[in-house]
Symmetry: C2
Subunit: 235 residues, 2 copies
């Protein structure tokens, strides 16, 4: 198909497709004339993946490029691919690569080092649960910085939630890896690693918001039965 047909098939405008092509997010089509190329189903799939990463997971172009490069490097072991996908997601990037807020150029104090009390708590948690990971896993610093913040904010009581969060992480990780294992071909497995890792944070954050409001209603508000008559209620 031509680029205009690729646009129709994916719902992505031609100038955006050209942008994806320039930025290396979309592989070249088969050249049919000096000004024309032919695209196929692999391009349709790639455009959909790029769109999901950029528009739904909120990845920057640079992060999406790293994921695409890792996907195209067919020889990358699954664990390394997980690492690339894990590091790509926007929100945690602020945690994994902390930068002082660009408030007014003068900057704030350095962020806490990763060997604060939070890092110790996470190391103990890993030991207790039998979690084995490399020191470069971005989750170690992310989780430790949140725990350090709880302590600095004088909310040590929130440390009591860590066990439940770890249970939840285990539940999700098992489902993630079961999906990877069940995918069949190596190509499908790498797709599942990337798509599940990049988009899964958003699914989990979304469901957490639903469960939180529901649990809050249950504890602090009128019984759920009273909501049945509320036209605003959705589920």
């Amino acid at each position: 198909m031509r680029m205009s047909e690729l646009s129709t098939a994916t719902g992505v405008a031609v100038p955006t497709l050209k942008f994806y092509r320039r930025e290396g997010l979309l592989h070249a089509g088969e050249t049919t004339s000096p000004n024309q190329a032919r695209y196929d189903e692999s391009h349709v799939a790639r455009v959909r993946l790029v769109r999901a990463m950029v528009e739904i997971a909120g990845l920057s172009t640079a992060s999406a490029q790293r994921v695409i490069a890792a996907l195209d490097d067919g020889g990358m072991p699954l664990n390394s691919l997980f690492g690339v996908a894990q590091r790509a997601v926007t929100m945690p990037a602020a945690l994994a690569h902390p930068e002082p807020a660009a408030a007014d150029g003068d900057g704030t104090a350095e962020p806490e080092a990763a060997d604060g009390p939070g890092a110790r708590i996470i190391a103990e948690l890993c030991a207790r649960r039998g979690w084995h990971v490399h020191a470069g896993n971005p989750g170690l610093a992310m989780a430790a910085r949140v725990l350090d913040a709880y302590a600095q904010l004088g909310r040590d009581d929130l440390l009591a939630t860590v066990g439940a969060y770890a249970d939840a992480a285990d539940t999700v990780a098992r489902a993630d890896l079961a999906a990877v294992s069940g995918a069949g071909s190596v190509t499908a497995m790498t797709d599942v690693v990337v798509i599940g890792t990049v988009l899964g944070d958003g699914l989990l954050a979304g469901l957490r918001r639903i469960a939180q409001e529901s649990e809050s209603q249950r504890r602090f508000s009128a019984p759920p039965a009273s909501l049945a008559a509320d036209p605003e209620e959705s589920c």
Copy 2:
């Protein structure tokens, strides 16, 4: 204390404190002379909270302002405060308020409406689990858009993970609300709602990355015992 002492107490530079003050993120001190004000422990606590929101959770100044305004509105019911905090977190904002990628100005197709198949699956999930939330809960659209993306990417197999993700969300929400209930005073409860909601996504995303790598090692690599000799291993 003076602003310079507030800076020492919090590790945040004076120009940044002035920026927080200008942007309404920090309440006024007690004026002691036309050019000077006195600050107290409430300012220390507030600066730490703002710093955690901006630097650790990655909130924009505008999002942090909304959270602070909600906190300062002492009469806001806990459920509404949850909503404000839930909407503030950066990463999910891309999901809750979708905007086309600013690729080249021409724009891409409209994001899927919230009544796609994903929304139906989430509605059924809520009914099955007895989750009661209002239609405005940002998690509904976030979760639905991820499920729509799974389907569009031809990865319907990832829909099989939704049940486990919902279990995890329930586990986390129960721990969140237990922490809120246990906080004691109304002020402490609002603090726990805001801090736990804004920073909790990062904790969960971090632990998910650790559990994912660990589970991936367990399934696809050499047994964990072989890692004991790896100098790179951290936990």
